[in-house]
């Protein structure tokens, strides 16, 4: 699809970008006296709390996705960004099936496939009827969950499949920034998995099943370093494009999550200066997700009376 076919969509997104919370508005919300004051300010920025905090956040995401769907010339153009939600939903359904619990309220949206449509297929084990990208992950994870009850491995198998599909879909979209983003997602997830594997003393066989191949570093060399211990793993990372992740990684889990989100958004920041093509739309998708994440953190922090500086530490860099 030609980049100029996105002209109308990009123009609409540009107007909507002006409605995103900027740094000044975010700072004002962080500086709110308490939770009530914070929600009052957020209402001014367009959040509707009539259905509670979760409803306000969901409403923001739904409105963003509704807008993108209405302007996208290619309805599958952003699939590489959504695929993670589909695999998350598969994970939720499999866990609900195995633990006989209710998956409602645990789904992530937007997604390529409707989780309610997947539900009977997963529950009735109609694996062949599932969308092709989900079939292998569903089979492997279900087998692991029912035979070994090793939920962490089941999760990892699904997460890896999600990353591999994200890379494939980004390649199909034929946009260098979407490919860079998918590769960064894979590398950052791998780093997180390897770090946790070292902390919990996981075997290399587990790492091999959980880690996704990426262009940033050699998978086997990374597993070998992780198997040797924390220092060899961190030294290994120093020689990869993710050397600056080490300080966040060793600081705390939330610091690393913030680093990952900021890195993703910095890749998509190129969308600010592009007038045509899918990138500004992908960047807007991430920008809203980042804003929603900031608001979620902010609301939880205000409810628990966290001081301002602690909240600021956790805030992701806004897109605008």
């Amino acid at each position: 699809m030609k980049d100029t076919e996105y002209t109308f969509a990009v123009a609409r997104i540009r107007v909507n970008e002006t409605r995103l919370m900027d740094r000044q508005q975010l700072n004002a919300a962080i500086g709110a006296a308490d939770y009530a004051d914070c929600t009052r300010r957020l209402r001014e920025y367009g959040y509707d709390f009539s259905l509670g905090d979760a409803g306000a956040l969901r409403g923001r995401t739904d409105a963003m996705w509704e807008l993108l769907q209405s302007v996208l010339p290619d309805p599958h153009g952003l699939d590489s960004l959504l695929v993670k939600n589909d695999f998350h939903n598969l994970k939720v359904l499999l866990k609900a099936l195995v633990s006989e619990s209710d998956p409602d309220g645990l789904y992530l949206t937007p997604s390529i496939y409707d989780p309610e449509a997947l539900r009977p297929l997963v529950y009735e084990r109609k694996n062949d009827a599932l969308p092709l990208p989900l079939q292998h992950a569903d089979r492997s994870a279900y087998s692991i969950l029912t035979k070994t009850r090793f939920a962490q491995l089941g999760d990892s198998v699904i997460d890896r499949a999600a990353l591999e599909w994200q890379i494939k879909l980004a390649e199909k979209a034929d946009h260098p920034v979407l490919s860079e983003l998918a590769e960064a997602d894979a590398a950052l997830t791998d780093i997180k998995i390897l770090y946790r594997c070292v902390l919990t003393g996981k075997a290399p066989s587990f790492m091999r099943r959980a880690v996704c191949a990426c262009k940033a570093f050699d998978k086997e060399a990374a597993i070998e370093a992780a198997d040797a211990g924390m220092d060899p793993l961190l030294s290994f990372l120093h020689y990869t494009p993710y050397a600056d992740a080490v300080s966040a990684l060793t600081e705390s889990a939330s610091a690393f999550e913030k680093y990952c989100d900021d890195r993703r958004l910095s890749i998509l920041a190129a969308g600010k200066s592009e007038a045509f093509g899918i990138l500004p739309l992908a960047a807007y998708y991430y920008a809203v997700q980042t804003e929603v994440m900031n608001v979620r953190i902010l609301l939880a922090a205000k409810k628990n009376g966290l001081p301002e500086e602690k909240i600021r530490e956790r805030m992701r860099t806004p897109y605008v």
């Binding site: 100029t4 002209t7 109308f8 990009v10 123009a11 107007v15 909507n16 002006t18 007038a275 045509f276």
Partner: protein
């Protein structure tokens, strides 16, 4: 025969001068129009500012039309009193139309891209619309240069070969 061939070349030149920049302008205004519609659908108050940007790539079509009329007029084809040009002279008139035809087409398309990007500036920072117009208007320079060259060539050829009575 020679005069018929000269007429053919003169007409082809005029058609190219009017046609190519016209096509470029049509495509260009369409592209900027899409961007403008995107902005106006969200914020109708910006209609006036984006309209100026949409008009910019339309000028090449007008320049092309002007060159086509001058060609037909200078050669005498319009008044029906065409001197006895050789086919080489007809070809020279056609060549005189080409700067406007070619540069007009491409400058309209590229100006449209600059203008559509400028619509993004208007969308986010309406007070900076003057800068958006300037960026797009600079592309116009090359259409004006091509117009000038085509006019000078037509004028020179008419003086050299003899004006229509």
């Amino acid at each position: 025969m020679s005069n018929s061939l000269a007429i053919f070349f003169i007409i082809v030149g005029a058609v190219l001068a009017a046609g190519l920049p016209g096509m470029g302008s049509a495509r260009g205004t369409s592209l900027v129009g899409q961007a403008a519609a995107g902005v106006v659908s969200e914020d109708p108050s910006k209609f006036g500012k984006v309209l100026i940007l949409q008009v910019l790539p339309a000028t090449q079509g007008l320049y092309g039309l002007l060159i086509a009329i001058l060609t037909l007029s200078f050669t005498g084809l319009m008044g029906g009193n065409l001197p006895a040009y050789t086919w080489q002279q007809g070809l020279a008139f056609m060549a005189a139309d080409l700067p406007m035809a070619v540069v007009g087409y491409f400058s309209a398309l590229h100006q449209a891209k600059a203008a559509a990007a400028g619509v993004g500036i208007v969308a986010k920072k309406p007070n900076e619309s003057g800068k958006a117009i300037t960026f797009a208007a600079l592309v116009e320079t090359y259409a004006i240069l091509a117009l000038l060259i085509s006019v000078l060539c037509l004028n020179g050829l008419t003086n050299t070969f003899g004006a229509a009575a």
